[in-house]
Amino acid sequence: MKECIFETENLVYSYSTKQAKPSLDNVSVEIHKGVRTAILGANGAGKSTLFYHFNGIFKPVSGTVKYMGKPLEYTREALTELRNDISVVVQNPDEQIFSATVEEDIAFGPMNMGMERDEIERRIQESLFKVGMEEYRERPTIQLSYGQRKRVALAGALAISPKVLILDEPTAGLDPQMSQEVIELVEQLCEAGTTVIISTHDVDLAYAWAEEIHVLIHGDLVYSGEPEPFFDDHEKVAMTGLVMPHTFSVNSSVQRICGREVAPYPRTNSQILCKMLPEGSRIGKIRLVPVEDSLPDVPAEGLPTGIYGAITRRLFRAAGREPDYHFNAIEYCLMDAVGGKDSVLFCDAPMKDRVLEVIGRMEAFGKKVEVVM
């Protein structure tokens, strides 16, 4: 039985009394602790209205919201306490950055919580490191580019060390590489025990990442659960303004044409390819190198190298080493493995288990990828 971190019951909310249909209409949803959750829906479906109920910004017209099993109280003290646990990163960073310099903005949350100065200092450094913006610490926020502002907003949210992090369209407007970096960071937070909720209409992102999805349409919750049954229901998907994720539809078509079972469902390209491998193909090995605080001296032996995690990335940059796969490296290494090629993957030590888990999943698609430590 999974533990609920948020639970709403028959939640109804309207912005104004004149609305014909409430913005949230009898929504009963369970968000599970530690489960990668995506809230999916078209623009205006009620995604943000829903998550603003989680941190008590909106008070339901009727129905209840529970955090860790306890109904929300809407007193000032209770809300302050609640919001010390929950961080929200809105889509447009300009709405969320209030201070003139990066450092001030990141200190905003911790200072509101009344933390000690030393602790705040530590938090600033840590969150700037996580988003890779250390050298911008004293820069005025208005001089930053859109992508940098988005990262500052994220760092500001991380600075309070939230138990729950809610991200609204976290990759919207970001360069592809920066998007990958954000996703990597999210993985890191999940691994460290933060519950992350992503609100998005990007089905490819949601499908590749989420374990559970909740789908909204015009204020109604139409689906809760694993992504596959939802995306398999063509009519329902069409109704929500969404589309099938590419990996999902490619796999479904290919398996149907070949007259095979559609399941197990691949979420990545490497998993699709793995399913298609003929019997007896050679599978490449992945040499996994966990990185603590210095780069281990591992000869690459001409093999392609990938890097994963903020620490590894920083160390590679400092050493002036150019990896072959800068971003989305696990996937690239797995592709190599499926293609019969060996590769080396450097990853942050705390992320080792996660990487092993992702590599281990290949077994479900027919082939075991061997990992050498």
Partner: protein, 273 residues
Amino acid sequence: MSEEMQMDTLAYSSRMLKWAPLGKFLFVIAVLIVNIVTNSMMVPFVTLAIGLVLMAYSTNFKIPFFVALALAEAVLILAIGCGMISITGDKADPAIWDTNLLWFDVYMTHDSFNKAWLVMFRGIAGMAVMMSFATSTPIPHLSQALKQVHMPREVSELVVLIYRYGFFLLERLDAMWEAAHCRMGFNGFMNTMKTTASITVGIFTSSSNLADKAQIALDCRNYQGYFPIYNAPPKLGIKWILVTVAAVALIYVFGIYTEGWIDMTKLFFGGSA
């Protein structure tokens, strides 16, 4: 990059950024006052030297083009004003130059000519000192300084918010302006009027939208009703007061000692006066 942005970038990159804003302010004002109360022609030169040294240290004389333009314009206006001062001398004094030029009754005296130069030098020197302050103190620092002199918190917070959103709206303004060009919004007087009105409405709407959303975002970040400051700029210390008093005293004494050293009339018209 907008002009405001250039000024801001410059201030944040200044070597004098970490100096107490109030200290800088006190120093500059004091120097300006002593610059005006002394009558020596040498004092403006000292003031100018201080201003130039500070600017060199602060930003290596990097001045945004538009500021330089504004300064040049100010010097021009100053020059015209001084020209006027120089030719409206006291009729009781002997004239160096007395003529009717167009509809001007030109009457230049020894005193009026010298006074004009003094005003001119004071003006230029004053601008240099003030620029050294303006190019090293970003607005948020100024607002923090206001807080230190017990200005109500609301005022200084408002200053910072206006500053933040001012830039944001400026960006919007730029974007809308260019978009209007793409759709020929400035084709003729009526269209220009209409476009300008639409842009104003657009900026207004987006600022109120932003304010709404920012309110929510503030609550998400546990806003407690005031903006805390992590790294306040340094306070006005005793050091600054000492330096200021010393500088003022020195310049003042220097001013009295050097009064009359330079006589512009002599320089220009020889010993005739």
